[in-house]
């Protein structure tokens, strides 16, 4: 995988942080919406935007990955989101 800061590194240096999902406001949302946010996942295969961390440098970044083929299409820092 390619870390946006450190370049291509072995996959064992990276930690997976799950799909990027918008969090509802816990003070105003309903219990159902909150339960949906904390438990439910999009478990079907497809191209997903995910959090990954390069652990030696503690760099969190975004990866677009095809979860059916396990192929990383693109990585970038969250701030550089296009």
């Amino acid at each position: 995988m390619t870390c946006p800061v450190n370049g291509p590194r072995a996959i064992s240096e990276f930690a997976y942080g799950g799909e990027i999902r918008p969090m509802p406001d816990p003070t105003t949302c309903s219990d159902d919406a909150w339960a949906d946010y904390i438990f439910n996942r999009n478990g079907s295969p497809g191209v997903k935007r995910e959090w990954w961390c390069h652990t030696p440098s503690n760099t969190w970044f975004v990866a677009e990955r095809d979860t059916a083929r396990d192929v990383v299409l693109r990585t970038y820092l969250y701030a550089e989101e296009s």
Partner: protein, 413 residues
């Protein structure tokens, strides 16, 4: 030469019946459609036909029978779980396993070995005691034993595990067993087939019709079927099927890999599991060591294997059994584990009327095959959740009532 064999040679047709009947086409309608021709789906079909008299049933399988997680697990059967719901459920399963071979008239190679969950830390030992007490309360043979009992059962073990993870004790579960997993699918499949259930292999489900919150039919690559009841038992493909009926679920799919060594002389009788070293191991009747480890650390919906896996697992194997250093790994493979946040399955009725789910079986589904078939066939036949599965319904997440089985997952996934 036996007469039976001679008849084979002289006859143009096979005088022996095939294992399963071949059906050239799908019927336009069935009472129940079961998606997934693995152990769970076929067991449900078998008990629907045998116990509930519902035989107008078809089982749809995208690939071949038992080719998913039924044929990819490490065949361990046990009931030493942590929550009362889990313990009661798996204990019923272990009881069903014991006379399944007679039921099928098929040798399942069910082999009672005894099962040690090794504890390398105080925390692991504490969980072992907890599990032992819950188990004993429900009348299940489970006890905490010292390192000497482990050494006695597996004399080749290095109790210090290379010096960095000394074994402090273990949870011993005498009914722990292994069985031949393919035969389980075949046995259930043949039993269902003989009672009139149609099994359609290489039939892929493309969509499920839902009208007014009720299931009305299933669309496949070989034609459409109308039905009022659909049972989904598809393991790693569960999220894809749930998308077809518009149900959200907490299921996430990670690969679980396993491997076997070349066959060696019998030297390991019990099943050993180490949470800290992420290893479980047993020796098959053929002499191969069947080894598994923890889940892959990220989501993938395919059965690809990686090189890190045998590398890491072998290192841990050598910590426990240094003498294996010259034994070769023969093959490795992976299955798609449909994980849930609380490590308990998701079973029973769903918000869509006539759609029943048997999923979320992650890494622990094989041992539950018989009891899943029994309870799901009851649930489908009566449109009411069986008493043993009320702790496993999908709405437990919405109600914040989880069934925490994580402590009893065989290795710390």
């Amino acid at each position: 030469m036996p007469w039976r064999l001679l008849r084979f040679a002289l006859s143009n047709k096979h005088p022996e019946p095939r294992m399963f009947t071949r059906h050239d086409s799908l019927k336009p309608a069935y009472d129940v459609v079961i998606i997934g021709g693995g152990g769970h789906g076929l067991a449900a079909a078998y008990y629907l036909a045998r116990d509930h008299g519902i035989t107008n049933v078809c089982v749809l399988e995208k690939g071949y029978l038992g080719g998913g997680n039924t044929g990819r697990n490490t065949t361990i059967i046990r009931s030493n779980y942590l929550t009362p719901e889990g313990v009661k459920f798996y204990d019923e399963s272990v009881r069903l396993w014991q006379d399944l071979a007679q039921d099928f008239d098929l040798n399942l190679f069910y082999s009672n070995r005894g099962h040690f969950t090794l504890a390398h830390t105080d925390a692991a030992l504490r969980t072992s005691r907890w599990r032992a007490e819950v188990n004993k309360h429900f009348g299940i043979e489970s006890e905490v034993v010292g390192p000497e009992a482990v050494k006695k059962a597996a004399p080749m073990i290095d109790l210090s595990c290379g010096g960095h993870a000394p074994i402090l004790g273990a949870l011993y579960h005498a009914p722990g067993a292994v069985a031949r997993h393919d035969a389980v699918a075949w046995g259930y499949g043949r039993g269902a087939d003989m009672r009139g259930v149609e099994i359609h292999q290489r039939t892929e489900v493309l969509g499920i019709d839902v009208v007014g919150g009720k299931v009305t039919g299933v669309r496949t690559n070989r034609g459409n079927i109308s039905t009022g009841k659909v049972l989904c038992a598809v393991a790693g493909s569960t999220p894809r099927v749930l998308d077809m009926v518009g149900i959200r679920s907490p299921i996430y799919v990670h690969p679980l890999q396993a491997m076997v060594s070349e066959p060696v002389k019998p030297w390991l009788d019990p099943i050993l599991v180490s949470g800290s070293l992420h290893v479980y191991i047993s020796q098959s009747a053929r002499g191969e060591l069947i080894m598994g480890a923890s889940l892959d650390p990220y989501e993938v919906q395919s059965t690809r294997s990686t090189f890190d896996f045998p590398e890491g697992l072998s290192a841990h194997m050598l910590d426990m059994f240094p003498f294996l250093s010259n034994v070769k790994v023969m093959r490795q493979w992976a299955g798609m584990a449909d994980m849930t946040p609380d490590f308990a399955p998701i079973m029973g009725r769903t918000p869509v009327e006539g759609f029943y789910l048997d999923g979320g079986w992650g890494t622990w589904g094989f041992k539950a095959t018989p009891v899943c078939g029994k309870t799901m066939s009851y649930t489908v036949a009566n449109d009411r959740n069986h008493d043993l599965i009320t702790g496993f319904t999908l709405d437990r997440f919405r109600n914040f009532e989880l069934t925490g089985e994580k402590g009893a997952a065989s290795v710390g996934h």
